[in-house]
Symmetry: C2
């Protein structure tokens, strides 16, 4: 992946930013992100799928290959799962030098109540081979990436596919999946970064050897240099975001606050371990104060809400920050860990504000 | 408004591009744009409005000021209007030098079926003064722009407000308006650029003198230089867009086509006069060929569909273009008319493609 030493974003990157939608940060107020505000990363083009001719194939190293219509899937036991999903490349545009790809700032996230049927039960029904290693999920979206023509495909280790709460989802927030979220069916793997949640699902293939497709061996690897083999990107690191308080300046997006106390609020999530704590700083991370955390209102895989009553000690300029720590003790860093693909940047968000006299 | 002599887009512009969503061009396939793919330009923050305490005030130079709840509005005669809406700043990022604001490329457009009640009938009921000049529409969104703190406000001339098919809309594509489209109520003025269609509407004020608010006297003026007083931006110029054919390269978004004929298709619209013609070029605008146009399937204010069966004369690289001409003879130019605010850029779209051998 190329990196840009130029501080300016290129037209190529802007083209990606135009089609891949970020969450406007004020939408962090909603526990469930409304359709149209949830982040979207679309590798190639959105396929507009005819549900009448669509089928899901479950094949490969299984005893009973299955072909299922959308109706077949809807007749299976239905379950709901609220999950926060974040793009693995969130924060990429804040790395220096900047890896050239979708230039996310901090807003590539959203939380939805996904409705569908359990992946594990369907796989068990197909009867995976005892020698199974990986399960490959293929979407109907096609394109060229890194010189390789491909349909979008990602794999999960067989134990993860059989042991997790993963869902084959045909609904979001109580509505049928819209095209941009993967109609008619997508995978939802709670706690993993977004690239795992394959959209426009067409085939699930059980393999007896490790999957070597582009999106696992070339894409989505955390590599410190081009020569580094790296490690796969999997579960979401701890991260928190704040609703920018006050009112914005249109063009700079800087915030202006009236004098007096302000309620700071936001969300925090982690795909590795539950959230332990959220802290707030009004001095760019020099000192930190505990925020109140409302835990698990929507279950383990949804972000938690946090809030903090801030008394500005004076008027003028401040840099507000928030950071979260998970139950293993992992905390968001003040500075990101640079890597070639620009993944997993969970450095603390900084919000410049001006408090009026 | 500042202009950038730097070819790179700044972080400030990227911040705007992240929150203001463009239409992914493959969504031009749909006559009605699905919620979540329609373009969004949000000047300040999305206000999340409590519908139970919300009211619409109709006031100023009227005989009978009105206060209406959402229920009151829903009880009035309901009407549907399919309208194509385009941001006045669409194409801004392709101007040189580039005006610094939301850096739209070509995709700030969408078409929706708006549901609501007629503006003109409601205004007549309030009884505007015979001396009325302008009608001001105020939204609940607040911010600072050009150094001026404001709620978003735009005006229409009284004759336009009383004589047009404008709608006070509480529904989109058969669903309640989502927050990002102006819940609980927005103005829809068919044929006008997007800035006119005030969201989160809270007050309609009839004035006996011209409105002099920021968004009419400072913003949304077509000015050839900073010293030019300019003219207001009003109705949409003729424009056409093409669904990029073939499959994309992830990072460059360049298109790869298999050999053989390709169906080129897209949409065309104009707020000034109906569409007369759409043409296609495969040589960067040197020569043009008439496309088939399907007219007015959704009424006068919706885009039309066009299609063209393209036989690539060879393999290799081409630059595909489309352009439309309205009934007054106005045609899209090959090069944009530069202006300070970067408005009304309806220059033809160029799509580089490679046809495989």
């Amino acid at each position: 992946m190329a990196v840009s030493m130029d501080p300016g974003i290129s037209l190529q990157e802007l083209r990606l930013a135009a089609r891949n939608h970020a969450l406007p940060l004020e939408a962090l107020r909603s526990p469930l992100t409304p359709i149209g505000l949830h982040y979207l990363l679309i590798h190639y083009d959105v396929p507009f799928v005819d549900p009448d001719s669509w089928q899901l194939e479950i094949c490969g190293a299984v005893e009973r290959p299955l072909s299922l219509t959308l109706e077949d899937l809807r007749r299976r036991p239905a379950t709901d799962l609220t999950a926060t999903m974040e793009c693995a490349g969130n924060g990429r545009a804040l790395l220096e030098p900047r890896p050239v790809s979708q230039p996310w700032l901090t807003e590539a996230v959203g939380t939805a109540r996904w409705g569908g049927t359990a992946l594990a039960a369907l796989l068990e029904e197909a009867g995976p081979s005892r020698a199974a290693v990986d399960v490959v999920f293929a979407g109907l979206d096609r394109g060229v990436e890194g010189g390789v023509e491909q349909r979008y495909e990602r794999s999960l280790p067989i134990d993860e596919a059989l042991g997790s709460e993963s869902l084959l989802a045909y609904a979001i927030n109580g509505e049928p999946l819209p095209a941009q979220h993967g109609f008619p069916l997508r995978l939802v793997v709670p706690g993993w970064y977004g690239m795992t949640n394959v959209k426009w699902l067409t085939a699930i293939t059980v393999l007896e050897e490790p999957f070597t497709g582009y999106q696992v061996t070339a894409g989505y690897r955390f590599k410190r240099s081009e020569d580094d083999e790296g490690r796969p990107v999997t579960r979401m690191r701890p991260r928190s975001l704040m609703v920018p308080p006050g009112i914005p300046d249109f063009s700079t997006r800087e915030r202006i606050l009236d004098p007096g106390p302000a309620l700071l609020e936001g969300r925090a999530w982690c795909g590795r371990a539950p959230i332990e704590r959220v802290e707030v700083s009004d001095d760019d991370g020099e000192s930190w104060h505990d925020a109140d955390v409302e835990r698990d209102l929507e279950g383990r895989w949804a972000w938690v809400r946090w809030s903090y009553r801030w008394e500005p000690p004076r008027d003028g300029a401040f840099t507000l920050c928030c950071r979260t720590t998970d139950e293993t003790g992992e905390t968001q860093p003040l500075e990101p860990e640079w890597n070639v693909g620009g993944y997993e940047n969970n450095a603390v968000q900084r919000i410049p504000v001006v408090v009026r006299p």
